[in-house]
């Protein structure tokens, strides 16, 4: 029967609804907005997730962070532990859409929508986050790198729901997410980059780099990471890693930017993300969101 709607109070109710063919809606900032824009019809049968307390919450511990998939971008951006220890996540969550988008839009929705420009994906990839999936038939955990399989496509089965993210602690690391933006808010990354670095005696011991809106999925760039390790993370090293990341990119031309412009800007944006992460790893402050702070940074 078409036009079914359920808003269960618990996860079991939501999983049962998914198993009987409902589509999940959380804040609706992709699903409903996309329908308004004519990208797809609204699903006939929906299960609303906003009332499920089990999907909410930010729980930092000594070795990591657990975030319920129903947590809003505003909650992520404002959380003191995320701002201090997983700063790139706060950089990303605080520039999603507008205040309204950030209040109703959720982390799980952002990941399940699988946009190549998803703001939160790069930071989560660099922190090696694990995604907890549930269905009425069971549970599984996958690496965040395995979640998105292409633009708008994921490894989720129709009856599965992203229920939580586990984000390991990287003691002493500095992290930074920067995007190229034509305006400060109500924007989607033209090009984005995340860097997470750990310093030891002024030398980079561990580096993670991810590129956003530069390939069919947000992805890590191993060559750029390897090039940074053992350097001081200064301007020359950051520049070189940025060039390597730009070479590894597979950008497209669309209404927002050309392929050539995206590739050229990839080097700049990756370099700025590295400079922001190194500055933070050194114990200095780069104000959140780094996209605004690092704008024009040479």
């Amino acid at each position: 029967m078409a036009g079914r709607y359920v808003a269960p109070a618990d996860l079991a109710g939501a999983l049962a609804a998914l198993a009987s063919g409902h589509r999940a809606v959380a804040g609706g900032t992709d699903l409903v907005v996309g329908a308004r824009q004519g990208k797809w019809p609204l699903p006939e049968d929906v299960v609303a997730l906003h009332g499920i307390a089990e999907l909410r919450g930010i729980e930092p511990s000594a070795d990591g962070l657990r975030v319920g998939a129903g947590t809003s971008h505003a909650e992520l951006a404002d959380h003191p532990a995320i701002r201090e220890r997983w700063t790139a996540i706060a950089d990303a969550a605080s520039i999603v859409g507008s205040p309204a988008t950030r209040h109703v839009g959720t982390l799980g929705g952002n990941l399940a929508n699988a946009s190549p420009a998803a703001e939160t994906s790069g930071p989560l990839l660099c922190f090696d986050a694990v995604v907890e999936l549930r269905s009425s038939g069971g549970a599984r955990r996958i690496a965040i790198a395995e979640l998105s399989t292409g633009p708008g496509r994921t490894a989720l089965t129709d009856d599965e729901l992203v229920v939580a993210l586990e984000v390991p602690e990287l003691a002493g690391a500095g992290s930074c997410y920067v995007r190229l933006e034509f305006r400060r808010q109500m924007e989607i990354a033209v090009v984005g980059a995340t860097a997470v670095v750990t310093l030891e005696g002024g030398v980079i011991r561990d580096a993670r780099i991810a590129i956003t809106a530069l390939a069919p999925t947000v992805r890590r760039v191993a060559a750029a990471e390897a090039a940074l390790v053992g350097t001081d993370g200064g301007r020359a090293a950051a520049d070189w890693a940025g060039r390597l990341a730009a070479e590894a990119a597979e950008p497209i031309s669309d209404v927002r930017a050309s392929l050539e412009y995206r590739r050229a800007m990839a080097a700049v944006v990756v370099r700025r993300a590295i400079q922001g992460a190194v500055t933070r790893a050194s114990g200095e402050t780069v104000a959140i969101p780094a996209s605004a702070t690092m704008f024009g940074f040479a």
Binding site: G28, V32, V33, Q37, G97, S98, P99, H103
Partner: protein
Amino acid sequence: MPHAATLHVNGTAYQVEIESGRSLLSVLRGELGLTGSKEGCDDSECGACMVLLDGRPVNSCSYLALQADGRQVITVEGLAGPAGLAGLHPLQQAFLEHGAVQCGFCTPGMLISATALLATNPDPTEDEIRAGLAGNLCRCTGYVGIVAAVHAAAETIRQG
């Protein structure tokens, strides 16, 4: 297949029977006769439809009405007190005094976003006001007056 829901709008409980795909905006305007919230773009770009849902701003054009079942909605009609013009919200009064209304189409959404901003940040800088109103477009481009009005209203509210 219509579903029963109770929408608490501006302090009044309304029983409605609505289809699952209906937007909150279409129910506010079409079923409840609350036409203060506007339909501009109908896809979350312009903010003319902004309402508060449990105190937080939401684009009602792109939010399923059924998801507001049992929750508190405030529209622009809920900002003024029962005395009408004599009981305007400080933001509404400041918008009048600072020429922050030109064609007026964006005004309800601007007022709602500004209300949400001042609830969490009673003394915002100009940058913070502009960020708080980033989801609202003014097609008359009257942003200078709008920002000035929000500044003035913040001061009025702080002084009680």
